[in-house]
């Protein structure tokens, strides 16, 4: 495998996890525009652990996930008060605050960025991505996940039929944030150099984009969207200077034609992957 394709594959794996983090939170109807912030927390904590504390990579990833997850739960509680575009704007603010925090945080290099990490292989990245995608695909067939979807569809009704909407929404935030943390940890050890601007608004929106393009109602949509987002600009290379404009146009067209994303439950059933339980 050429390094060029290995690089693309690694990017897809990392972006898939970031997209999944948005997907999980979105499954309860909460739109987060700040998940790159959770990625940043994971990236910086994992890097610090492997570089300064000599913690083995896998353990560092797990700890990074836990740290991001805890922050996610902490963010999840105030998030309960907000809905829709207001929640989106608040999470956007959170993401910018995290970026700004690392810009000022000396121990991890501040504006100068942070480096010294050991590189990880594409196989290692995909071991995480593959495992976590399978985990989410198993979970999303569970009754627990039906609860998340119930909260997404009608939160009041969900509570009145006995679902703990608070626990489900906060839990989803924590789980999603942990997922983003893992994505960030892998990102840092793939690129070997991180700086706060890696984890700003534009990255957050890229994660949302991957989910919405790929399909926001099922987990495989995240892989598909991540692949699309990484590969499309490559395939549009022949357009040279205009490839971004072409990408933007394609994005608008896809959203107009299929607002639920390219993959959805119906299509999934049709091609025979999803069992009709």
């Amino acid at each position: 495998m050429s390094t060029y394709f290995a690089g693309l594959l690694a990017d897809i794996g990392i972006l898939t996890l970031g997209a999944l983090s948005v997907y999980i939170i979105l499954s309860t109807g909460q739109l987060s525009l700040g998940n790159a912030g959770f990625m940043g927390i994971g990236a910086y904590s994992a890097s610090w652990l492997t570089v300064e504390a000599g913690v083995p990579m896998t353990l560092a990833v797990v700890i990074a996930a836990a740290v991001s997850g805890v922050v996610g739960v902490i963010v999840g509680f105030p998030a309960l008060r907000l809905k829709g575009i207001y929640l989106a704007m608040a999470t956007l603010g959170f993401g910018e605050m995290v970026r700004s925090f690392f810009l000022n945080f000396g121990p991890t290099g501040g504006a100068a960025g942070y480096h010294g990490m050991q590189i990880i292989s594409v196989g290692y990245i995909w071991a995480w991505t593959g495992g976590l995608v399978v985990l989410v695909m198993v979970l999303e067939r569970s009754r627990l996940w039906l609860g998340l979807r119930a909260v997404h569809d009608d939160e009041t009704a969900a509570e009145l039929i006995g679902l703990d909407a608070v626990a489900l929404k906060v839990g989803a935030f924590g789980f999603g944030a942990a997922m983003a943390g893992i994505s960030g940890a892998l990102f840092a050890h793939h690129h070997l150099y991180i700086e706060p601007s890696n984890f700003g608004f534009q990255h957050s929106i890229e994660l949302v984009l991957a989910v919405i393009l790929g399909g926001s109602t099922i987990a495989p949509g995240s892989i598909f969207g991540a692949g699309l987002l990484i590969l499309l600009p490559e395939y549009l290379r022949f357009l040279a200077d205009w490839r971004l404009a072409a990408f933007g146009t394609l994005l608008i067209v896809i959203l107009i034609v299929r607002r639920q994303g390219i993959l959805d439950r119906q299509l999934y059933r049709l091609i025979g992957f999803g069992r009709a339980s």
Partner: protein, 292 residues
Amino acid sequence: MLLQQLINGLTLGAVYTLIALSFSLVMGILGILNIAIAELFMLAGFIGITALMAGLPFPLALAAGIAGATVASVVIKFVAYDPVRSSPVITPLLTTLGCSIIIQNVVVNYWGSNPLQLPFEFLGERLRYGPISIGSMQILVMATSVASVAVLGFMIQRTRIGRGLRAAAENRDVARLLGVSAERLTIVAFALSGVLAGIAGVLIGMHYAAITPYVGVETGLKAIAVMVVGGVTRIWGALLAGPLIGIIEVMTIAHGGSQIRDLVVYGLMILILLIRPQGLLGGRSSDTGQRV
């Protein structure tokens, strides 16, 4: 010193106010976050500087920037808003993001990705009053902003279409009762939003005597914070919030290092969303938004 910072903060705040008003016109009336406003502002900055470089006087350069941003804004309405108007808020957010990508790409291809610098001094003289100095440019920025807001205020308070806009911001069904067509209101909202972004873009371009294709996002996000602090559905809240955030920024840079400012600004924004979603100015509490 304090007074000097106040003036610098007000200049910055004036520009934030204009962009926040631009966001809030579309948000208040249609309930969508038009991300592309950040790039309209950048586009107008490029047009304005280019016009000045071509020897046009300031009013014409301003008009050219406004025209560019307004046309682009109305095009966005037809391309990225109309086809998805019935979908959840996330969809128009991303279609307008698509427009941002396109606008940025066009600008980079046309002007290049390096900053476009104004090669000559424009309104460079500074007026001194004891320890305070005000650039003529600062005066121009503030005067133009105040004039624009005054004209906008007149339109919204006194004209029929303005009453329709106000009614629609309060309640989207009331506007229909007033007999103003929803389609016309939507076009006017996008056009006015473009005008404001255009003015802000030209002003900021001239203020810094330079502009880059990547200036949009950072300033745009700040303007969203201003809109929120002022109260999303309260268009005039931005008049207070813009200068306030401008001054807070300048003050934190002066006292806490330049990078603390984003923590303060976005922290304030989140705080407002949580404890006072109707914005600083208050009034009855606004809706907490539709579901995604």
